[in-house]
Amino acid sequence: MTALRDLAPSPARAVPAAPAEALVEVRDLRKHFPVRRGLFGRVAGQVHAVDGVSFHVAPGETLGLVGESGCGKSTAGRTLLRLLEPTAGEIRFRGEDITRLDARAMLPFRRRMQMVHQDPYASLNPRMPAGEIVAEPLVIHGVGGGRAERRERVAQLFERVGLRPEQMDAYPHEFSGGQRQRIGIARVLALGPELIVCDEPVSALDVSIQAQILNLLMDLQDEYGLSYLFIAHDLAVVEHISQRVAVMYLGKIVELTDRASLFEMPLHPYTEALLSAVPIPKVTARRRRRVILSGDVPSPINRPSGCHFHTRCAYAHARCRSEAPALREVRPGHLAACHLHDGGVTFPLAKPG
């Protein structure tokens, strides 16, 4: 493991631009929600749910987006899909700026970027047979030909996601949680998307079913060259499926790099603490040194000054309380937002395991 002191205290490098071939890219994306109080809904403040994040997803790639509840990871995913209107920033899909497109102009992009939700039961119409749920996007977008042709296509999709075509006439309540997630995935695949935002797709499922769904998502990616933005709080799951991982804390990305670098050499104290907090299913893991953070995640309405993490950070110093660190390239391909790296500072980073 390379110690931080071995790193040259290089002058701050700006965040590198996304490669030209990025499938989707967001720049300085912001989504703020007004907090209303009182009888007349006076705006009393703003929740900075997403507060200036930049990342891209390459074709065929999985970018993991991790963080704890309220960090803004789901809002970032929804805003990227324009299911929420961005407050500021830019969203580009295959180079085209889609940030301000109206609903009509957005329609062709909707086919190409889809979403898989956490709770498949809440996202499936309980009064519609599973086959119709999967066929619905084809109808809405006027693709997939006539009725018979559509049914044929849906039957293929059912088989592809591991459901039996006979199950097309069953209703959502007749399926188990894992099967419902398969229906959700079939529906999303119907339009042949290029990007799928997966928002906690396995966290509501039992352990043995999680593996089935993760394997299915990886198989589909290999087969169709899909790109995933994989949003989850479970680091082990994100580590398993992603090529690169972004860690969010209170609306900002604090670290972004390939998965091996992130897990071997976390550069942000928050990432270090997160990794350390995850229980490892091995008895030998009981010996490891752990970093246990004190306190709770601060409210996104009333965020700490400077670096938002300084209230829980063991390494915080005066500068952290007053000045927000920028996300910058500390090592090649490894971005972190932490003042510690400005002077080649050393701090012991615990490795999980």
Binding site: V207, L214, H240, A277, I292, L293
Partner: protein, 356 residues
């Protein structure tokens, strides 16, 4: 792993691990629920025991009966539709199932306490949390209200709630999920229980808060020497907290062993499947930066409905080792090495020579 090494390991992980006498024993428990579609045997002949100072983890997926077993211990099964149909629950030698409701009330929340997954549902939203903790103390310890309140604030301080005097006046919704779970723990521990049952106590919490809460439970266990029954679906939580582990599937105990035995020599195909199907965080470091990710081992198929359990072994339809015998007769739990037991006809063939 030899005995000395495993002792050292357990010792290092948690210094309180000194196996005391058995405080609670569940024997052949059967809990049923009547539904319009038929009788569900949620718990079907489960036995386990826990010793003073010991952490027993009960692990399994939804519907396996791990929570119903715990609720049965405290006789919190709503009847109808539920019913404890058989078995004994021995607490310090007394069968709890034979106690009157009034006697049971003196056990519940006093000698045996329980904390749940979502503290919001167990706290009364209309009262300040300090008062709720004090009520439990006043009820069980016969203290004056003033003394009970003082003790409640002391308990809140003990579970590391910042500014305990002021927090005692807060309502549940004013606290974060982690703080609410601390309040629940304060309440559960306020009467120095001999057994703490924690049912998925950290499942609703973020991972950094989970680490805090599990640490808190360990500290308090050490202080009080209580037995802890920790119910979870998270194998990581099991590996880092358990002394012994019970694995449940479809209402039955399928494997039992020390945490070392279970993770190094899992014997039941279901346990092996579970361990194989979870992504391991520390594999990333070894696997390098390669973009190709390995497929996870899957357990095929679905957990069977308790209304339509297959004859024979409930796991047989999903099991790669199942043969005619498995489909005909349910295996009984049998010794599989020291302190290790498994309910599988074919466990002996799984890893020849692996049994201790």
């Amino acid at each position: 792993m030899n005995q000395a090494a495993s002792a050292a390991l357990a010792g290092e992980a948690a210094p309180h691990r000194a196996a005391g006498e058995v405080v609670l024993a569940v024997e052949g428990l059967r809990t049923e629920f009547r539904t319009p579609a038929g009788v569900i045997r949620a718990v079907d002949g489960v036995s386990y025991s826990v010793r003073r100072g010991e952490t027993l983890c009960v692990v399994g997926e939804s519907g396996c009966g791990k929570s119903v077993t715990a609720l049965s211990i405290l006789r919190l099964i709503t009847s109808p539709p539920g019913r404890i149909a058989g078995g004994r629950i021995l607490f310090e030698g007394r069968d709890l199932l034979a106690l009157s409701e009034a006697e049971m009330e003196r056990v519940r929340g006093n000698a045996i306490s329980m904390i749940f997954q979502e503290p919001m549902t167990s706290l009364n939203p209309l009262y300040p949390v300090g008062r709720q903790v004090a009520e439990a103390i006043a009820l069980h310890q016969g203290l004056s209200w003033r003394d009970a309140m003082a003790k409640a604030v002391g308990m809140l301080r003990r579970v590391a709630i910042p500014d305990a005097e002021r927090s005692a006046a807060a309502y549940p919704h004013q606290l974060s999920g982690g703080m609410r779970q601390r309040v629940m723990i304060a309440m559960a521990l306020s009467c120095n229980p001999k057994v703490l049952i924690a049912d998925e106590p950290t499942t609703a919490l973020d991972v950094t808060i989970q680490a805090q809460i599990l640490e808190l439970i360990r500290e308090q266990q050490e202080r009080l020497g209580m037995a802890v029954i920790l119910i979870t679906h998270d194998m990581g939580v099991v590996a880092e907290n358990a002394d012994r582990v019970i694995v449940m599937y479809a209402g039955r105990k399928v494997e039992e062993g020390s945490v070392e035995a279970l993770f190094t020599r899992p014997a039941h195909p279901y346990t092996r499947g579970l361990l194989g199907s979870i992504p391991h965080l520390d594999d990333a470091a070894r696997g390098g930066a390669g973009p190709r990710r390995a497929r996870l081992a899957e357990i095929k198929g679905l957990v069977p409905s308790l209304l339509r359990l297959p004859p024979g072994c409930s796991f047989a339809p999903r099991c790669a080792l199942a043969d005619a015998r498995c489909r005909e007769a349910a295996p009984t739990i049998a010794r599989h090495g020291d302190g290790h037991a498994v309910a599988c006809w074919n466990a002996g063939h799984l890893a020849p020579g692996a049994a201790a």
